[in-house]
Structure formats: C-alpha cells, structure tokens
Amino acid sequence: MIEILSPGVMASVQDMGRPGLRNLGVGSTGAMDARALHIANLLAGNEPGTAGVEFTLGGFSLRFHADTVFALTGADAGARLDGEPVPAWWVRRARAGQTLTAGMAGRGMRSVLAVSGGIAVPDLMGSRSTDLKGGFGGHEGRLLRAGDRLETGPAEAPAMGERGFGLAAGRLGLLPPQGEAEIRFVPAAEWQVHGPAIRERFLASSWKLLPDSNRMGYRLSGPELRRETPLELLSHGIIPGTIQLPPAGQPVIQLNDANTCGGYPKLGVVIEADLATLAQVRLGDHIRFRAVDRAEALAALAERAAFLDRLPERIALARDYSMRSAGHD
C-alpha cells in the first residue's frame, strides 16, 4: 500500500486507458505519457499497461507501507527517498515506512510512478484509469488527495540491488523537451480547405502552450489563423492528438480526457509516437509543428515499438548486474 501525503498540483491513477469505447461516449483517458508508464512498469516488473500514478509538475509526497520496488519515469522532479536522490527513469527498492518526496519538476510536465504489482483500484470497462470528466474509474473517480491510501496488487517484487538502477534517458532520447518542442503531425481532414495562408502560418509559427491547458486539451497561442468565411461542421469523432482550429484562430489539441466528438475544423493529428513528447511540454513553453506523411508516422511508431519490445530482456540483464554490484555493498 502507498499513502499519498501530498498529491502536488494534480495526481491521478492511470493505465493505458479505455480504447475502443468512443462509440459509447467513453473517452480514452489513460496516462498522458504512455511511453513513460510503459517503461516504468517494465522497470518495476509489471505488465506494461499496469495502473500507476501520474503526477503533474512534481511537488508530491507519499509513504510506502510495505517493502516494494518502484520506478519513477517522465519529468525529473528531483525525487528523494528518505532524502536519498532518486533520478527520473530509475527503479529501486523502498522499505515500509520510507517516504518519497519530489520538488517541482525542473524539466517536463508529468512524472509517472509504477509500483510492483500496480495500483489495485477496480477495473472498470477494461481499465483502471481515472475518467475525471465522467467521475469514474481510478481511485473513487477523482484526483488523488492527501491521505488517500492506494492498495497495490499481489506481486513478487523483482530482485535487484537496494539502490536499483536507471535508464540512460538522455542518450536514449527519453528526456522531456527543453525549449521549443518539435511535434510531428499528419495533415488531415480540413487541412486543404483552410487555404495556403493559414497552412503556411501554422507551420512557420512557434506556438505557446497556454496555462489553461490540461488533460482534456492544449490551448495554443500564436498568430491568428482566422478564416475569412466560417467553416461549420457537424460534430464528428475525434481522437487524442486531433488539432482543431476554432473560429478564434488559435489551435487546440484534443488529448486523453477530451470529449469523444467535436465540431471544430481540423488541421491534422499529432502522430502517436510524439504524444509522449507533447505530454511533457511545459505550460508556457513553445511547440513547432512539422508535417509528415502517414508512412513517416508509422515508421516512428514502429521505431518506438521496437525499442519497447527490446526493453524487457535488457532490463532482466540490468537486474542481474544490479544484484552482482549490490553484493559488494
């Protein structure tokens, strides 16, 4: 069991969400940085889609009530276990009574905690994710609060040295973006209808992520992309990553907690491989879009999948190495 002492700005239980239920009006939800959750789970000895806790901008604190193994990925919030630094993309043991605290994230937006056995909240419609808009799933269908106690599932924690090990995240390209982030998208839907002036300005501009952005969507600020004649559409299905252009001329990116349908004209869709990067862009930072075709989008996804597929075997070797090193402590 873990006890939330402070959730920080915003924390919720998330797994890989509820795909395939949009026809019922049930949104995706799930970890915003799915890659970070996937890797955290592998490090903690779980299946990739096991439920963990997503923290926003750090500032959290929690206590372990049983010996366990945990992994922390995503944004580096300078976490410490009873005062001992725990870098991001790291897995290690925790003893009952130890406290994990984090400062404000210095780089990136979201940290993901995976605990051996996963967070054992009820499975609802195939997922343990919190649907904040619908008020169901996760822990009581809501954001985590101080004092919440989260049970963990049964598991045999993987063997490793006490202080564990980490991923060489910088070299592996896992670190959150710093400064302007390049986000790839596939132009789609009404892209051609918007005309060359809007298309060129959209591609040439650096877009600021506004502070009222959240898990539902990112609001962007930049040059106005107003159409001379309004374009009205019937509501239609949208997916996380859909880039819309509302009448005010400032793009919006729909994300995990968005409605399942919307009616604004679209510019395209962020490629799935870049959603993890997008999730880590900090409020106030900038995004520049690069148009790619479907083939490049699929190649990027295949490259990420290949990396994730190789990880379990490598992590097993790393655990062995960690054990041997620990034997000399």
Binding site: D76, P85, A88, R163, G164, L167, G170, R314, A318
Partner: protein, 118 residues
C-alpha cells in the same frame, strides 16, 4: 604552554591518540620528553578512507548524467548503475572515462560509510 607550535603539537597528539598511541617519547641526546596521550575529544578513530572500485565495465559518471545529482553512475548499455558515493567524495576516474572491473572510481569522504563498491 605559550609556544607558537602548541596548536600543531595539540593536533599531533590528537591525531596519534585517535589511532591508539598512548605514549610519546622524544629523545634528543641526553634529553628526553615523554608525553602521555589523551585525545582532546572522545570521538572514535576514523576508519581509513575507502576506495570505491568498478564492479563491471562501462562509462563512469561522477554525477548522474541527466540530473546532475548523486549517485555517481556507471553507464553500461542502455542503463545506469549507481556507484557507492555521495557529496564530497573525490572522483578518482575522469568523467566519461571507460572503466573496467576493479578500476578505482571514488575515494569516500565519509569514511564511516566506506568500503562499498560500484
């Protein structure tokens, strides 16, 4: 004692006493000085400094390469493995150096925590 070397002599006596020396005799020809030693403090003698060595091959990072904090790490393949060490320890290998089994990495400053290997 008002000799200008009194402080240095006091340090020497403390240093020897902490290492278990209980009697100091200094002879100069016919003259002899004998001093019974008692340390000025009751602190136990510090253990000798410990050298942390590498337990496998890799690149040595005196600080975590991404966060810049402790722990020092050895990078092997896609992974970082912590090396025993903390603030104030003295790196014995250069940052980014290729190290192998047994390569000296750090000299522990806090000797009471010493003896760990990376």
């Amino acid at each position: 004692m008002t000799d200008p070397h009194a402080a240095e002599l006091r340090d020497l006596i403390d240093h020897l006493a902490r290492r278990g020396v209980v009697w100091l005799s200094v002879h100069a020809g016919e003259e002899a000085l004998e001093i019974g030693l008692r340390p000025a403090t009751a602190a136990p003698p510090p253990p000798p400094a410990k050298i942390v060595t590498a337990q496998g091959p890799g690149l040595f990072h005196p600080r975590h390469p991404d966060s810049g904090t402790v722990p020092p790490c050895i990078e092997a393949g896609d992974f970082l493995f912590p090396v025993a060490g903390g603030e104030g320890d003295e790196p014995l290998a250069a940052a980014g150096a290729v190290v192998g089994y047994g390569t000296p990495l750090m000299r522990r400053a806090g000797a009471s925590e010493g003896g760990k290997n990376g």
